[in-house]
């Protein structure tokens, strides 16, 4: 029952978006807020204010208070003028989506929206909202500002920012001016890495050792290199750091020459798809951390062995989008 109501409300909103706000698909950038895109209506506080003015007007009529009329009319005029101030606060802004870094499912996606304020005046008290989450900010004059909107990303795949609302209650809080748009912004949500994954599998040749591989080189210290943020804290050269040196990472010989095969089909059969993806994600991260070249094999796709940012990115992207409707287009791209 409740579900039916919710879906009815959703379809109503969809219809409103299509007919009233004339939006449907994500819009080509940049979105310019002209007169036709800005809507203005009294807020709840505005209705309360109107009611209070009505009471004051009745009192003025009843008691023949000339100045009462003047007070009520002045306030009503100011409230009416505030409607145009609210409109003006949004008018002329241009919106375009910024970069959105991938996150793991269950984390919070941080969408960046770039809003350009070409006018010579500040735009105070703005709010940007999507997915029921709001971010309040103000825009300085004549510059483009990056606004971050945090949305929870519960499931892997693509998280589109979708229907977004930019609104303001400035200046009196009595009027809400808003604009609805769908920016072309989305966030790649990666599968949650398994929290305590089994050790990395051996490569194809070591298969006969029961899928377990002795990482003999683990303690063969090979040298130091600059620390990267993805490096394990266990490998940080703490002694160097303690002496006041730079943050360095100890490299070990084990990774060199070795090669891993992270294969969907070789995972234990009792794991369901999501848990497989979860484990493979954890392994990709672990392999990168340890600097071992790896091959990722998913049903229908095989990424040849490599190491490094681009490779990691590609593998994680495949894992994130595995089995989703738009995966094919992604892979061909």
């Amino acid at each position: 029952m409740e579900r039916a109501t919710v879906s009815f409300a959703a379809s109503l909103r969809h219809a409103a978006d299509r007919w009233l706000f004339r939006i449907g698909a994500p819009e080509r950038v940049p979105i310019h807020l002209g007169q036709r895109r800005i809507y203005v209506l009294p807020s709840a506080a505005g209705l309360g204010f109107a009611l209070a003015l009505l009471v004051m007007l009745l009192a003025s009529v009843n008691y023949n208070l000339s100045l009462g009329y003047a007070l009520v009319f002045t306030l009503a005029g100011s409230a009416a003028a505030s409607m145009l101030h609210a409109f003006r606060n949004l008018h002329g802004l241009s919106i375009r989506p910024g970069r959105c870094a991938p996150v793991f499912a269950g984390d919070t996606a941080a969408f960046t929206i770039l809003i350009d304020n070409p006018a010579q005046r500040r735009r105070p008290a703005l709010r940007l909202g999507a997915h029921g989450h709001w971010s309040g900010f103000e825009l300085p004059a004549e510059q483009e500002s990056a606004i971050t909107l945090a949305c929870p990303a519960p499931r892997r795949g693509r998280l589109a920012l979708g229907r977004s609302v930019l609104e303001t209650h400035w200046p009196l809080g009595l009027i809400r001016a808003w604009s609805v748009f769908i920016p072309d912004a989305e966030c790649l949500v990666l599968p949650t890495p398994e929290t305590d994954p089994p050790p990395l599998p051996a490569d194809g040749d070591d298969d006969r050792f029961g899928g377990r591989r002795k990482r003999a080189g683990d303690d063969d210290f090979a040298g130091l290199r600059a620390h990267r943020s993805a490096d394990s804290p266990r490998h940080v050269a703490w002694k160097v750091l303690a002496r006041g040196g730079p943050m360095l990472t100890k490299e070990f010989a084990a990774g060199q020459g070795g090669e891993l095969l992270l294969d969907w089909d070789r995972l234990p059969p009792e794991l369901d798809d999501e848990r497989r993806l979860s484990r493979l994600t954890a392994w990709v991260l672990a392999a990168e951390r340890e600097g071992i070249r790896y091959t990722l094999a998913l049903p229908g796709v095989r990424v040849p062995a490599a190491l490094g940012g681009a490779h990691r990115e590609r593998c994680l992207r495949l894992l994130a989008l595995h089995g989703l409707a738009d995966m094919a287009t992604e892979d061909s791209a």
Partner: protein, 672 residues
Amino acid sequence: MSQCRTQRLIARLRPAGHPNGARANPPGPALRRNQGAWLLAAAAAAIGPHAGWLPIWVAALGLGLLAWRALLLWRGSRPPPGALLLTLALAVAAGVRAEFGHFFGREPGVALLVLLLGLKLLETRAARDIRAGVLLCLFLQLALFFEDQSLPVAALALAGSLLALGALVALTAPEGSEREHLRTAATLLAQGLPFMLVLFVLFPRIQGPLWGLPADAFSARTGLSDTMRPGSISALGQSDEIALRAAFTGPPPPPAQRYWRGPVLGRFDGREWHAEPATESAVPAYAPQGERIDYLLTIEPHRRRWLIALEHPAAAQPAVRYTSDLRALTAEPLRSRARFTLSAYPRTPVGMDESPVVLAAATALPTDSNPRSRQLASRLAAGARDDAEILERVLAELRALRLAYTLRPPLLGRHAADEFLFDSQRGFCEHFASAFAVLMRAAGVPTRIVTGYQGGEINPIDGHLVVRQSDAHAWAEVWLQGQGWLRVDPTALAAPERIDGGLAAALADAGELPLMLRADMAWLRGLRHRWEAVANLWNQHVLGYNPERQRELLARIGLGAGRTAQTLGVLAGAVALLFATLYAWSLRRPRLQDPLARTWERFCAKMADAGLARSPWQGPQAYAEELAARFPAQAGELHEICALYARLRYGPHAPEQDLRILQNRIASLRLK
């Protein structure tokens, strides 16, 4: 391990400056200091002016609550607990109940509003509380108009509205500076004023009241009453409040003719004089004749039906009622300042055929009071041929007694007339009138007391006659066979200056007078004349703008009676016009200061019209190339224009005429 990584990732992703989910998290308990300051200022501006009218404890408590809130705000402490506030609220409600005896009515209403605002501010946490506080402030501003609608109060209300709007602005945009908030609020207020003017003039006025008014709807005012005892009029002598104004069509009557007739008191109980019931009719009980004085009377509200008019009134506009004791009455109690076009006939004989019942009542005197006066009267009446002779003898006797006129008469006991005539011999007009009437009645001549105002002062600025409460006066009327009721002013026997020169001239000791009435304060009076002329204009044109005046004004611009639809149309049109003007203002873009930038913008706009807009990242060179590719026929010209702009913009100082060359080339450029 991966969890640790994930957390670090989130830490990097999370935005630093902007609070998220503003709607999800209710605003914190603390009101920002600047928001609180705005609200407190608005509340102080709303409560402060009421302090003069309210019971002292209410005003003190209201302001005290504000001070407490200010202290909490300044220290950044938390608001007091709800239970304490509830207890306080119940206590103040009980206090108001005890003070006024009830909750309904204007005064307890304002008192409750003041205390409620103080308590509301103490518990202010959320935005909603602030808005409620602002609305309470606005209600209090309105309530101030019950007391006073003068120009300074209007200015105060304007300032209060500015602060209230500022509080709302500070609430929506807490980040802005106070100067910006003030500027925004002032802009809004200034933009509201044209709407106010249009609505004030054109909004259909309805004559109130729409529903019953509470008994104390308008504040009590000093003024005449329908009883008189020793001291009641001298109390008015201290007040320089205006009672009425008159604008005469011709020259104003001489001071000795300025008798403004109010309540007539015909019954004497030995100490106090009371009004007797009189019959009302639509026409006066006399035939107006003789000299006629036309004037426009503006009378201050006194909540009674008395139309205090120059003797003897007739032909009034709007119509008034006349009583058998020669007074004029309005149809409704005067709750607001009202204007009447009146004529006065000072030489009309009145009461020629007065009924015997009235005449009998006008000689009634309680037998157990003022024995010495009665004795004197019977001595004076003995051997007199007629009532006129008795009158002569009584006046002569009073003159002989050398009574003194003073604003501070000694307190008198039970036989007030006796004590005044024979013991203290010092009194104000009511003593003179009362003692005279007692003597006349004791002598058997029908006599009654008339109260009202005598005199008035011409304001040299606008020429209007201003009559104040300090001009309140009491005189007597004697009925003589064949002459009717005759006015006799016994005060004139002791202090003839009172009649010709007013109170200030009649009193020997100026210290008794209100500051403004003293003769040695001429410069102050000049200032006051100016101010009162302005206040009069304000009263006539702003406060006096009522349904009737609106009809007159609308008729003058061709929107007479029966044209309500057109009037509403004009109103809607005017409001729409104002709105359109504001809309145009909101869309305007500030003109670029730099003429070169303007020129370049014009060029880009022209190219955009031709179908190729400049992208924001394109410099003149890149744009020129794109344009040249699109319009190969003008490639050379386009390149040259862009190059010229680039040289003017980025090159070393260029001569003035180069800019003009650029402008001309842009203007003459025709794209195919």
